[in-house]
């Protein structure tokens, strides 16, 4: 929507509380909660030593038939966009082809992959970090077998993306909209995102949910989140490689 020129700037006093990494340079949008891409896995099938250091390892033949994906999911697509930005279209395409050759199981949504990993139906999957914690909150820690694995450093698989907001330029109620954004970035709302959704709060001082590893400063590829909007290439690649 920002690329289409539909957003006006959020008042600096409102958006200013968010780390520059998680908002637009011109404050046309800002993140309100963070989510990390992770590899969810079933420890009964995948011993810690075998965990991939990078998502690029998932094209190895040993993962054949063991990977769960949700190619229709926006977060998965944003992650593929991040890969295109960091390693280029050619290498991303090769990776997608390798992934396809490994016969992944495709799911309609991330939470289904996490459930499947927990129930022993898929060994490893590419998801957002919070689905595991939501499952744990739902069925209890003792029955949650699946675990999250964070791939290392600047791997595109370690992307930290945001759920964000912007204010429509066309709105006749700019002040109310700004107040709403202010609320979303206030402590009660941030606590809700952290404690109920198990996302990363973006307001300094609000603690992450218990059991959630804190965000590392340099975690994930160094990219401008605004560039992830360009999904045209991503979808083309997913179509070309037959994953979509």
């Amino acid at each position: 929507m920002d690329k289409a020129g539909l957003f006006g700037p959020i008042p600096a006093a409102v958006a200013g509380v968010v780390d520059k990494k998680f908002r637009a340079p011109d404050d046309n949008w800002t993140g309100v909660s963070g989510r990390a891409r992770v590899v969810v896995y079933d420890p009964r099938k995948v011993p810690a030593a075998e965990l991939p250091a990078s998502v690029f390892d998932l094209t190895q033949p040993k993962w054949k038939g063991r990977i769960g994906l949700a190619p229709t999911n926006g977060s998965f697509q944003a992650f593929v966009s991040a890969m295109i930005i960091t390693v280029g279209e050619a290498r991303t395409k090769t990776w997608l082809q390798g992934l396809k050759a490994n016969d992944p199981k495709t799911y309609a949504a991330n939470d289904l992959i996490v459930k499947a990993a927990n129930d022993g139906q898929v060994d490893i999957g590419l998801v957002n970090h919070y689905y595991l914690f939501q499952l744990q909150a739902e069925i209890g820690a003792e029955r949650t077998v699946a675990r999250n694995h964070y791939t290392a450093g600047t791997d595109p698989g370690a992307l930290v993306n945001v759920a964000g907001v912007g204010i429509l330029k066309s709105s006749k109620r700019q002040a109310d909209a700004a107040r709403f954004v202010e609320y979303l970035l206030s402590e009660p709302a941030q606590r809700h995102f952290a404690d109920r959704n198990f996302e990363y709060p973006l307001l300094a001082g609000v603690p992450t949910a218990a059991g959630l590893p804190p965000l590392q400063g340099g975690q994930g590829p160094a990219i401008n989140l605004g560039d992830l909007a360009d999904l045209g290439h991503t979808l083309d690649l997913l179509h070309q490689t037959g994953l979509l």
Partner: protein, 483 residues
């Protein structure tokens, strides 16, 4: 349709060609059509068999089974599919999707056929029997022919519904045409590809509608009109009486008990689910309000359309009736977005108000009511109305005293069909409902979206319970009104 064409045309011919000639588009269309054909055939078989057993046979508890057999319509396809997927996770693709969709959509055939069976003049069957036909031959040559129009339009509804379903195909991982439409909506702000695909779906729908219309003969479906039809004797199933029970029991077990049982298991397994009776109660109230309005408005609109289609042989009448079916084949999100487009531009004060939601239900579900009214209207001999007119009654009075009672079973079945279908409607309710308006279906959806499966159990159970009462009233009324 205007919305689709406007949106699809926005990108020029190249964009249209690019979307249409993706190899995948053709492949998925064929898969979707195959699924629709298979589900329609299976639904017709189950629907007719259940209607015959519960209306015409001395099946133990047949009145209860008649209500129960209609209820799978109130189970959202994504709930049934979810339940199926969580019990039998290794089954994906065509077969489970076929089973789930058949179990949920055979009532589209069952309800209208049961309404027609209720009104069949037994004199014709008895004449066939007295002329030497065995019971099976008489059933095939007389009864089956009379229920054929209702069964055919019911199967048509199933076929169109399957083409538009998204919940079951996405969860059971059957790659279908609607998945492409949804993907296109999900992954970009460009509405053109989805609109182009929607237009393609429309073209195929029109093809199916024309083909189905060709199968309608010019036969008359009303009796010789010598007096009012007597109530037919129940067929004595004899030693098959209890064995026949296996069909309704089996269908109810798989279509109702299994998915609801799974949601209860989710509730039992959940460590955080809170049973919030207040919230679910408010959702139930909102659901009943919106669905009842939708059902009454839709059934009222269906009476003239169904009557005209049954009585007139003109092309205009056929066109009006057929065009009512188009909305049903489009995924709900397409209809909802087109209404967003129009209300925001031309009727802004109505945006996200109840009347627009009710109108969306009318667009989506008019054919359900039309098919039921049509079935009954075919059976009503026009001579009765002509006699009333010749005896000096005014047209309005003729409608009230002659036509309306004859149409009652069809109107009742149509209202029940629409009500049950509105109960579970999701995309239009989410997009067009007033802010904060929560129905049972949207509650189930938002709970499962947040991974709070336990919270989905109570609203899912209530969906079916709320559906049972009006179905019982409407189908019972049809049963006792025959005099």
């Amino acid at each position: 349709m205007v919305y689709l064409v406007v949106r699809a045309g926005g990108g020029g011919w190249r964009a249209i060609a690019d979307t249409l000639f993706l190899a995948r588009t053709g492949r998925l269309l064929i898969r979707s059509l195959a699924l629709a054909a298979a589900v329609s055939a299976a639904s017709a078989t189950i629907g007719v068999a259940l209607a015959w057993l519960t209306v015409r046979c001395d099946l133990p508890g047949r009145r209860i089974w008649r209500v129960v057999a209609a209820l799978p319509l109130a189970v959202p396809s994504y709930v049934a599919a979810f339940a199926f997927a969580s019990e039998l996770p290794d089954l994906t693709g065509f077969r489970p999707t076929f089973v789930v969709l058949t179990l949920l959509s055979y009532p589209y055939v069952f309800l209208p056929v049961a309404a027609v069976l209720e009104r069949i003049d037994p004199a014709m069957e008895e004449a066939a029997r007295s002329l030497g036909d065995g019971p099976l031959t008489a059933f095939r040559r007389v009864t089956l022919r009379q229920i054929r129009p209702a069964a055919a339009t019911g199967s048509l509804l199933v076929c169109l519904y399957v083409l538009s379903d998204f919940g079951a195909v996405s969860i059971l991982r059957f790659d279908s045409f609607t998945r492409v439409i949804y993907q296109s909506y999900q992954s970009s702000f460009d509405r053109r590809p989805a609109a182009i695909l929607g237009c393609l779906l429309l073209v195929f729908t029109l093809g199916i509608l024309v083909a189905e219309a060709r199968t309608r003969g010019r036969a008359r479906y009303f009796g010789g009109s010598r007096g009012a039809p007597r109530r037919p004797d129940l067929v004595r199933l004899g030693r098959w009486r209890w064995a026949a029970l296996a069909l309704p029991v089996g269908v109810a077990a798989f279509a109702l008990a299994a998915p609801l049982g799974t949601t209860l298991r989710w509730l039992a397994e959940s460590v955080r689910a809170e049973v919030d009776f207040g919230r679910v109660g408010r959702a139930a109230g909102a659901t009943v309000l919106a669905s009842a309005l939708g059902a009454v408005v839709t059934a009222a609109a269906a009476i003239p359309v169904g009557l005209l289609a049954a009585r007139s042989r003109s092309r205009v009448a056929a066109f009006i009736e057929r065009s009512a079916f188009v909305g049903h084949a489009l995924p709900g999100i397409v209809v909802a977005l087109s209404l967003v487009f129009f209300t925001v531009r031309f009727m802004n004060p109505l945006y996200q108000r109840l009347p627009v939601l009710v109108f969306a239900y009318l667009v989506l579900f008019l054919p359900l009511a039309v098919s039921a009214v049509y079935g009954s209207a075919l059976q009503a001999p026009p001579a009765l109305e002509e006699v009333a007119r010749s005896l000096g009654k005014r047209p309005r009075e003729v409608f009230r005293t002659v036509t309306a009672p004859l149409l009652a079973p069809g109107v009742g079945a149509g209202t029940a069909l629409v009500f049950l279908t509105c109960l579970k409607e999701l995309p239009a309710t989410l997009l067009l409902g007033p802010t904060g308006f929560e129905t049972l279906a949207t509650r189930v959806w938002s709970a499962t979206q947040a991974g709070a499966f336990g919270d989905a159990a109570l609203p899912a159970l209530l969906l079916v319970a709320v559906g049972a009462v009006p179905t019982w009233l409407l189908t019972r009324r049809g049963g006792t009104a025959v005099t």
